[in-house]
């Protein structure tokens, strides 16, 4: 693949060639990087963060979450869909009600790390 910016590269490129080669060797493949960004996008919205935080404590139904956050049922349902597609939550049906709960052990850790970063 031809690099559009190959030519406009700074003159001192040869100075950091070695470092760049090291970086290239350790860079994950494109698809994996896109998947990571997609995953972080899910965490990158305060409504979704609130939903995940809520589910730390207990499984909840859609209307519970809507009431908790003071938002519409529809808005919450749309967001739960996003979170579920990222495999961060799972759900179960109980009659008319659908309960959501965390699906992954990493959610708490990821959010915990972010919290630590912010507390510095």
């Amino acid at each position: 693949m031809i690099d559009q910016y190959e030519t406009e590269r700074c003159d001192q490129e040869f100075v950091h060639t070695e470092a760049l080669q090291q970086v290239r060797n350790h860079m994950p493949r494109e698809e994996e990087l896109l998947d990571m960004a997609e995953l972080f996008k899910v965490f990158g919205d305060s409504t979704r963060i609130k939903i995940l935080y809520a589910l730390f404590e207990s499984e909840l139904c859609v209307c519970d979450i809507a009431a908790l956050l003071g938002m519409s049922q529809s808005a919450i349902s749309h967001q739960l869909r996003v979170i579920k597609q990222a495999k961060l939550v799972k759900n179960r049906r109980d009659g008319k009600t659908i309960f959501y709960s965390l699906a992954d052990v990493h959610v708490k850790t990821i959010i915990g790390m972010a919290k630590e970063h912010l507390e510095e």
Copy 2:
């Protein structure tokens, strides 16, 4: 504060009142939740993920990164600004060149957790 959706809440609310109270007690304050979402937004773009990954291996100047990712100097500079505002990288000047490097120990851990989640 009056909850616009208080009334449209599902009838069975009283069933999960206890769970909701538990959740409310553990929910961080609004500002903290917004800050967490802001932080994750920074990770939620593949260009920025690539930049952070690159800096795992070595400090790099702006044009190194632009060449590595095949993007314009301006685009990279704009993104470095975002990452720096989130205090994830720091920089130092050496003559005309400015070198960027990771500023935080949590970056690797956060990205590592995401990677683990995706590998399941």
